[in-house]
């Protein structure tokens, strides 16, 4: 099993999904617990992966390679390094917690958990695939269950949101496919292997074009301003656990693409685009923050805050420095835990009040004391309070950018003030002030819900207090990546 640990991790959910198909619809309890147990088991496998991973090695570990379609040189190649490992772990963690968070789903459970597990396989596969063909397949596999999960279990405008999400991302991935094919036909012998493709010296113009193609694919996924408008719609309509995965994992697939494909394979293209990355990052940070401040809908507000926070990832990427890259990758992890938690918390409130109108709440801090404590905790993490994880990654991103683009860092600081503004404004409207009598009978957060949030809180606090333990996993791989970017043979 240990020899094929990654395959196990990727396909355990798929196997579970298939098994679920054979059970009658009426056994909802069984299906629910089975899916949860599978996610838990998979998380356990993830812990083994973490324990067996050697952080001092920059190479790919747990490599699995098998010939798949030899006629066109497609291989089944899986592996992790310090860049993908945190993402795999984040996916496993959030899949498990969001699965527990799915217990509120009360219709068509069988289909729901089938699609949920399928989605899980797609996400995990994307982060461990080292063959572009395989990567593309997993990338697209994510789309389909997501489309149905939003379109069936979503809110009032679910069809619109689902189709917008699907078509927008699909359009992006077509550009990515063009990029993949360009790389494939450039290489000789033709290959989809990322490691092999990374060794080829492409011409500068070629790199620029291919970088742009990949950029469009990834930018829509992240989403980078101005490709972000599918995100608020998808979030508002998606059911809570799906929002958690959408914000926590799916957005990371986009930025992960830069780390895994665009940067190492097309370093010259990346260098050429570097200032624009910075401009788009800063625009996203400030723009997302301002738009977030204007929102009345709790979920939409957090969706736009994601645009702002993912801007920091981009900013770190644009820096081309060690601090920046570390900050960007750490910010991806932190944004997953923090925003994932925030979406869970919106769900807790929505399940009780059936409303997300920020202006309609007020004074909930009196009634729901535990809930408000947790909500304040996650908000503080999101606004970058030192001692919690968000600060460390944003600090590193700014530290990295400051050396290269001093003014970008200064402007990005506006985003930090904005984060305080929109989050504290939200707290003021939801938790503080006199209790709105309409909500005087709302019960406080229950044990199951607390159980889904506590692990996230532990990670947020631990990373915030002592970030070294997680950065030690990332740093060596990023050092190698940076060396490659700077044209130093590694």
């Amino acid at each position: 099993m240990l020899n094929h640990l990654l395959s196990w991790i990727v396909f355990v959910p798929l196997a579970g999904a298939i098994v679920i198909l054979f059970f009658p619809k009426s056994m909802t309890q069984w299906i629910k617990w089975k899916a949860t147990a599978l996610c838990g088991f998979n998380l356990l496998l993830g812990c083994i992966l973490l324990a067996k991973f050697n952080p001092n090695v920059t190479d790919i570990q747990f490599l699995e390679k098998a010939s798949w379609i030899p006629q066109i040189g497609v291989n089944y190649t899986l592996g992790v390094d310090g860049i993908s490992l945190p993402m795999v772990f984040l996916t496993l963690l959030l899949s498990c917690l969001a699965c527990i968070g799915s217990f509120g789903i009360k219709e068509r459970e069988k289909e729901y958990y089938f699609l949920y597990l399928l989605l899980s396989t797609g996400m995990l596969g994307t982060f461990v695939a080292l063959d572009l063909f395989l990567f593309y397949i997993f990338w697209e596999v994510v789309l389909v269950p997501m489309y149905f999960l939003i379109g069936i279990w979503g809110g009032p405008r679910k069809e619109y949101a689902a189709i917008k999400f699907f078509l927008y991302t699909l359009a992006g991935s077509l550009f990515m496919l063009l990029g993949i094919l360009a790389l494939y036909f450039y290489s000789s012998p033709h290959t989809f292997d990322m490691t092999e493709l990374g060794k080829i010296a492409y011409s500068r113009t070629f790199q620029q074009f291919v970088f742009l193609a990949f950029f469009l694919g990834f930018a829509i996924k992240v989403p980078i301003w101005p490709f972000h408008t599918w995100l608020p719609d998808a979030h508002v309509e998606a059911p809570t656990p799906i929002s958690v995965l959408l914000a926590g994992v799916l957005l990371k697939m986009g930025t992960y693409g830069f780390f895994r494909i665009s940067y190492p394979i097309l370093p010259d293209g990346a260098r050429w685009f570097q200032p624009w990355m910075g401009v788009l990052a800063v625009t996203g940070i400030i723009y997302g923050g301002f738009v977030s401040l204007a929102q009345q809908d709790f979920k939409k507000m957090i969706a736009y805050s994601s645009v702002s926070h993912m801007g920091f990832v981009l900013l770190g990427l644009a820096a081309f420095t060690q601090d920046g890259l570390n900050g960007a990758l750490l910010q991806m992890f932190n944004h997953g835990t923090i925003t994932g938690g925030l979406f869970l918390l919106v769900g807790v409130l929505y399940d009780r009040a059936h409303s997300r109108d920020l202006n309609g709440f007020g004074g909930l801090g009196v009634k729901m004391t535990v809930y408000s404590g947790i909500l304040i905790f996650f908000s503080l993490a999101s606004l970058g309070l030192p001692g919690l994880s968000g600060f460390v990654s944003e600090f590193l991103c700014l530290l990295g950018t400051f050396q290269v683009y001093r003014w970008f860092a200064v402007l990005a600081c506006i985003g930090i003030i904005l984060a305080a503004t929109y989050l504290l404004y939200m707290i003021q409207r939801v938790l503080l002030g006199p209790l709105n009598p309409k909500w005087s009978s709302l019960p406080d957060i229950n044990r199951r819900e607390i159980f889904t949030l506590v692990p996230l809180m532990i990670f947020i606090l631990a990373v915030g207090v002592y970030p070294k333990f997680i950065l030690e996993y990332m740093a060596p791989a990023l050092t190698a990546l940076l060396a490659k970017l700077n044209g130093i043979p590694f």
Binding site: T229, Q322, L385, L399, Q403, C413, A420, L424, K468
Partner: protein
């Protein structure tokens, strides 16, 4: 043994963790956890303070983060300055926490209050002990969080909820400046360790004077936010929405003084690149003068004290800007005692009367003797009456201003000192003396509140003595170390300062006790001035009309832009595609498919026409054959 210093902030932190999870079960007893933790910190810090007095420096650190070549060390370094702060925070903090037991008695969130106070103590102590600017920054933000939580402690009140948000965001503007200053410093000198901010270390960077002057000013920007200096002072008066012990601890004695502490910590940097000094002195003096002017006409007992705090912080900042290192830090210490006492006294009055409006008070001294007497001591101290603590430290500041060679600072600060004596005794006379203006069932506060008052009163009287000529300026020599200068008494400045203080007190006595009708008339005569002071120079209105309104307007404009333009384009693309496909559909149906169908229809038409002749009757076929034969014949014959 040195590592024991880590325990100093750790005890209150543990108390916080304990109280936040289990506090509710322990009810009133939970306060003792906080007091116990604070006392333990006090006891533990004693040997370090003693050691520092004897000239020792305690240092310890560990690696917190290392990214490539960037290394961040966390730990503590205790020298004279941090020892002084350690002394102030633990002593004043413990007394205020004890006082809170009485003040907060019966509050439904009693245990949570003490949890927050403990978290504050932990953060403030780590701020004081921090060895590096980054660790200081982290603690700096955490004390800001505690301030946020405690200002909004009674969050059911919308004004408290709004005040807490205002405080957090306004100070964050300053924090960003500090953050950027930190980055500049780090990338120029490669260090964030506070010990390195001295002239020997900075000497090789003398050529970078522009950048490092800017770094110094940006760091000072953090102090402008935290220490409520002009133009970011607006949050502090609103912060009075918090429970009064919070105002005493956080918004008078310790946290707001952290800005002064920060400037004092970076004193090596700002004196090595002295271009930053003048702006600092200017901001400090403006703040001191402006806040004292506003305090003259305020009617809320806590707001008078809040503006007084802003003004006194301005004094300290001005002192540092005028190179009065010993004077500024000395005033920080004495101010912590007498201002904490003033706030706690005000709290006792509010506790007894249930109002904060001094126009409703009067004659309280008979019923609240302990409160009155201790309040009077503190007022004398802040007014600069010898030999109380405030006299010595304020005098030092005035000497620094006098000797700075820029007389304007000396004049402004002297006028401010007069105003200070006046507004403080206006407050004293209106609150405690004269005739009661409203009937209250007033009672003196319980012993758990009055004992801390008395202890602080003793402190307010005595902490100035180590800095007095009677003890040979012991404090200044201790604190200044490397920044030291000769200390001589300037009898001229001292005499003037005593005279001005006495003048202010006498004027307040005349106006508010002897001729109580006069102030109103004066207010009517100097109406613009009165309004300017009473309306706080319209800062809130100005900011509301410009910055805040602009901020929200931009926000809603961008939201509209997002929905209308960016998302509009996306939807337009989608709809455009749909329309395009409609057209294609039409073409498909009518032209492409039409062509296909047309061919079919044509065939069908022909065939149905042709079918007509296939009748199956032999006579018809014969006729057709006959006609055909006739036609053939006809064409043949024509040739």
């Amino acid at each position: 043994m040195v590592t024991l210093a880590y325990l100093i902030p750790l005890f209150p932190l543990l108390a916080f963790a304990f109280l936040i999870f289990f506090g509710k079960r322990f009810g009133d007893k939970s306060a003792w956890v906080a007091i116990g933790a604070s006392l333990l910190s006090l006891i533990l810090s004693t040997p370090f303070v003693m050691g520092a007095v004897q000239g020792q420096i305690f240092v310890h650190h560990f690696e917190w983060l290392r990214i490539g070549s960037a290394l961040f060390l966390f730990g503590f370094s205790i020298d004279a300055l941090s020892a002084m702060m350690l002394f102030v925070v633990t002593v004043v903090g413990t007394l205020i926490i004890i006082y809170s037991v009485g003040y907060m008695h019966g509050d439904p969130r009693f245990s949570r209050f003490f949890a927050y106070l403990s978290l504050f103590m932990a953060s403030m102590l780590s701020l004081v002990l921090a060895n590096s600017l980054l660790m200081l920054y982290i603690s700096w933000e955490l004390v800001g969080l505690c301030s946020y939580l405690l200002i909004g402690f009674w969050f059911e009140k919308p004004s408290a909820a709004a005040a807490s948000k205002k405080a957090f965001i306004t100070t964050r503007v300053g924090d960003i400046a500090l953050f950027l200053g930190m980055l500049l410093l780090f990338f120029t000198t490669g260090t964030l360790e506070l010990r390195n901010l001295n002239h020997e270390f900075l000497a090789p960077f003398a050529s970078q004077s522009k950048v490092l002057t800017l770094a110094g000013l940006l760091i000072f920007g953090g102090a402008v936010g935290k220490s409520a200096q002009f133009p970011l002072h607006v949050w502090l008066p609103d912060a009075m929405e918090g429970p009064t012990p919070v105002s005493a601890l956080i918004h008078a004695a310790t946290m707001v003084a952290a800005g002064v502490y920060l400037v004092a910590r970076s004193f090596g940097l700002i004196t090595f690149f002295p271009d930053a000094l003048l702006p600092i002195a200017t901001i400090g003096t403006i703040t001191a003068f402006m806040a004292a002017f506003i305090a003259l006409t305020q009617t809320d007992i806590k707001r008078v004290l809040a503006y007084s705090t802003i003004s006194q912080l301005g004094f300290m900042i001005a002192a540092l800007g005028l190179k009065g290192y010993g004077a500024g830090t000395f005033h920080l210490m004495t101010h912590a005692f007498f201002k904490a006492l003033l706030f706690l006294g005000a709290g006792s009055v509010i506790h007894g009367t249930g109002t904060q409006d001094i126009r409703e008070m009067g004659g309280l001294w008979k019923k609240m003797p302990h409160t009155t007497f201790t309040f009077l001591i503190a007022s004398l101290a802040i007014a600069g009456v010898p030999p109380l603590s405030g006299f010595w430290s304020k005098d030092e500041i005035l000497v620094s201003a006098y000797e700075s060679g820029m007389p304007i600072f000396y004049y402004l600060l002297s006028i401010t000192a007069t105003m200070t004596a006046f507004y403080m005794f206006r407050l004293v006379f209106l609150t405690f003396f004269g005739k009661p203006r409203k009937e209250f069932h007033v009672h003196e506060s319980p012993a758990i509140m009055t004992i801390p008052l008395w202890l602080l009163a003793i402190g307010s009287a005595l902490v100035g003595l180590p800095g007095s000529p009677w003890m040979n300026h012991f404090f200044q020599t201790f604190i200044e170390g490397s920044h030291g200068a000769e200390h001589a008494i300037n009898l001229f400045v001292m005499g003037i300062s005593v005279g001005l203080g006495a003048f202010g007190i006498v004027l307040a006595w005349l106006l508010y006790l002897v001729f109580p009708a006069v102030p109103e008339k004066l207010g009517a005569i100097f109406k613009p001035l009165y309004l300017a002071s009473n309306r706080k120079l319209w800062f809130d209105e100005l900011y509301q009309a410009t910055v805040i309104r602009g901020w929200y307007a931009l926000s809603s404009a961008l939201a509209k832009f997002d929905l209308g333009v960016i998302d509009g384009l996306v939807n337009a693309t989608g709809i455009g595609n749909l329309r395009l496909s409609d057209i294609q559909n039409w073409i498909d149906i009518h032209i492409v498919d039409g062509a296909v169908n047309g061919v079919g229809a044509l065939t069908r038409g022909f065939s149905s026409a042709l079918r007509k002749i296939q009748t199956g009757f032999v006579q018809n076929y014969l006729i057709i054959s006959f006609i055909g034969a006739l036609m053939l014949l006809f064409f043949e014959l024509r040739k």
